[in-house]
């Protein structure tokens, strides 16, 4: 599993898991959508630039520092909430503005994190163990608790796919709501009728591998296979993301 969660996927030499996930995320975004990412979100940030370069030129890229549609990620380093996004942006739209926008139902897509996810679509970003006396205090849900219920589509991406991450019941429900997709190194989950379901499996991954890494039962029905990154996608990715920020979470 280390290979899959990290570096090169068995059976190909052209792309790594980070490339694949970034392409999968980019394909989920549509033209003209307003799309937000937060801190520690390099992969969605790169995916948004990829989508803009491919099929969504008028996608609106929103972020914590407030730079609307940064024209390049050249200056970006460890942070996906740094001031360079404003420097490179075409206008300014503050974090408070973005939240208000989502409250009004006008944020199309929000990228959010979390540490535990369960079969009912609950997200835990707060604590392992009791909230007031936690075994592990997590960083907190940041915007999740108001964005997952209000963004039209909430997308979660995780670079870890294991039974500690995908559990039967989360320890604490930081939020739930308009969860739309969860993208992992193994698969894409969807959310239907209040349940997390398996939408698609990545190339060279089996259903059994996904089930084995998931702490709740999955159905082996109507599952698609993710298309591998195309040559065009990979070429653009390399140009957009010189520093391989998209894979920073695998390092």
């Amino acid at each position: 599993m280390a290979m899959i969660n990290g570096g090169r996927v068995p059976g190909n030499r052209e792309w790594e898991t980070g490339d694949l996930m970034t392409c999968v995320i980019a394909r989920l975004l549509k033209d003209k959508e307003t799309v937000f990412h937060g801190v520690s979100s390099h992969m969605p940030m790169v995916a948004m630039q990829l989508a803009k370069a491919l099929h969504a030129p008028d996608l609106v890229h929103l972020n914590i520092p407030g730079g609307v549609n940064p024209d390049s990620l050249r200056d970006v380093s460890y942070s996906s909430a740094g001031p360079e996004l404003v420097r490179r942006g075409e206008s300014y739209f503050s974090l408070a503005d973005i939240f208000d926008l989502s409250m009004r139902g006008k944020l199309d897509v929000a990228f959010l994190g979390g540490v535990q996810f369960d079969a009912k679509g609950n997200v835990n970003a707060s604590a392992i163990g009791p909230y007031k006396k936690p075994k592990v205090r997590l960083p907190g849900g940041a915007g999740s608790a108001v964005l997952i219920p209000t963004a039209k589509k909430a997308i979660i991406w995780r670079t870890k796919h294991d039974k500690r991450t995908f559990v039967e019941d989360v320890d604490f429900v930081t939020t739930r709501g308009n969860l739309w997709k969860i993208v992992t190194p193994l698969c894409v989950f969807g959310y239907k009728n209040g349940r997390v379901v398996l939408d698609a499996i990545h190339p060279n991954i089996t259903f059994e591998q996904v089930q084995e890494a998931t702490g709740f039962a999955l159905k082996n029905e109507n599952i698609l296979v993710t298309e591998a990154p195309t040559k065009e996608e990979l070429a653009l990715l390399r140009r957009i993301d010189l520093k391989n920020l998209r894979s920073v979470e695998f390092k």
Binding site: V39, S40, H42, I64, P65, G66, G67, S77, Y78, S79, S80, A81, G82, P83, L85, V86, R87, Y92, S94, L95, A96, F99, S102, M103, N122, S126, Y131, K132, K133, P134, K135, V136, R137, P139, G140, G141, A142, G143, S144, A145, V146, L147, P149, T150, F172, V173, T174, T175, R176, G177, V248, E249, K251
Partner: protein, 290 residues
């Protein structure tokens, strides 16, 4: 009437044990680190901090046991720097109360302070255990719907957070406190209105009136500002847009400090820079301070 003072004096005069503080910036960007290190030197205690997304600022205060409660949506370093371990351990040990908000509910709670009302309605915080576990959230019925005979409509309220003091690190201000924040402003304009007192620490302090040609860029008018402290590199090792990037080396030096001595040594290593004061950097000539 210049509002300038030194770092030591500013902390002495404005920070009292038990205060609710709020800081500029977000995560590792433009936190007023020099001012916060001086709080550590002066051992101000039982502090509360309100911020949407905190990192080194809160983690440092927690490392020295100076914090009682943190009101935040997110407390962590980004990516490679990992979790805010001092904060985390303090919450786990029960010595710090970690009042988890959505970042937006911190914003709304501060808007409550700006408007001087005891609560703020928040759309979007509808589900989950944050509502159950925290007494600063409450769900009520919309009384207008009731009065109009419409179907019941639940509304979440967040209790107002009223900071006693906002400390804002900016690129430039004048001696009256007129302040320009370059690039991302994060929640700084909001906290300059929400807090009872406001201190600006700035990379550059110019004489009163010198910002007049950039007046449409002034984000905080001087009359809102109680004191101005001139501290070049006052955000470091966090970043300050247009001035310097975050210093990986110095952040790691803090994160890797694993006892009180090393932590003290880290704070001490900044002492001379943090306290260098009142050396008016403006040397004459328009643009000299840009």
């Amino acid at each position: 009437m210049s509002k300038r003072m030194g770092t030591e004096e500013a902390v002495q005069s404005f920070v009292k044990d038990g205060m609710l503080l709020t800081f500029s910036g977000n995560a590792l960007h433009r936190a007023p680190m020099s001012f916060i290190r001086e709080i550590v030197r002066q051992e101000k205690k039982q502090l509360e901090v309100a911020k949407t997304a905190a990192a080194l600022d809160v983690d440092l205060l927690c490392a020295f046991g100076l914090v009682s409660t943190v009101h935040a949506g997110f407390v962590s370093y980004e990516s490679e720097y990992g979790l805010a371990q001092h904060y985390r351990k303090a919450v786990e040990a029960g010595t710090v109360t970690g009042n988890e908000h959505a970042c937006y509910t911190v914003i709304c709670a501060l808007r409550g302070a700006v408007m001087n009302v005891p609560f703020m309605p928040v759309h979007g915080l509808k589900y989950g255990d944050l509502l159950v576990e925290n007494d600063y959230f409450m769900v009520v019925e919309n009384p207008f719907a009731e009065a109009e005979g419409k179907p019941a409509e639940s509304v979440t309220l967040v209790k107002t957070l009223r900071p006693d003091l906002a400390v804002i690190h900016a690129q430039v201000c004048d001696e009256d406190g007129n302040t320009i924040i370059e690039g991302a402003q994060y929640e700084d304009i909001l906290i300059s209105r929400a807090a009872n007192k406001v201190i600006v620490t700035a990379e550059t302090v110019v004489p009163a009136g010198r910002l007049i040609q950039r007046k449409d860029r002034i984000d905080i008018p001087g009359f809102l500002v109680d004191a101005v402290v001139h501290i070049p590199n006052g955000a470091s090792p966090c970043s300050c847009e247009g001035k310097y990037e975050a210093s990986e080396k110095d952040i790691k030096r803090f994160i890797e400090a694993d006892n009180k001595e090393e932590l003290h040594a880290w704070v001490d290593s900044y002492e001379r820079k943090d306290r260098a004061r009142n050396s008016l950097s403006y040397k004459g000539g328009l643009g000299a301070w840009r």
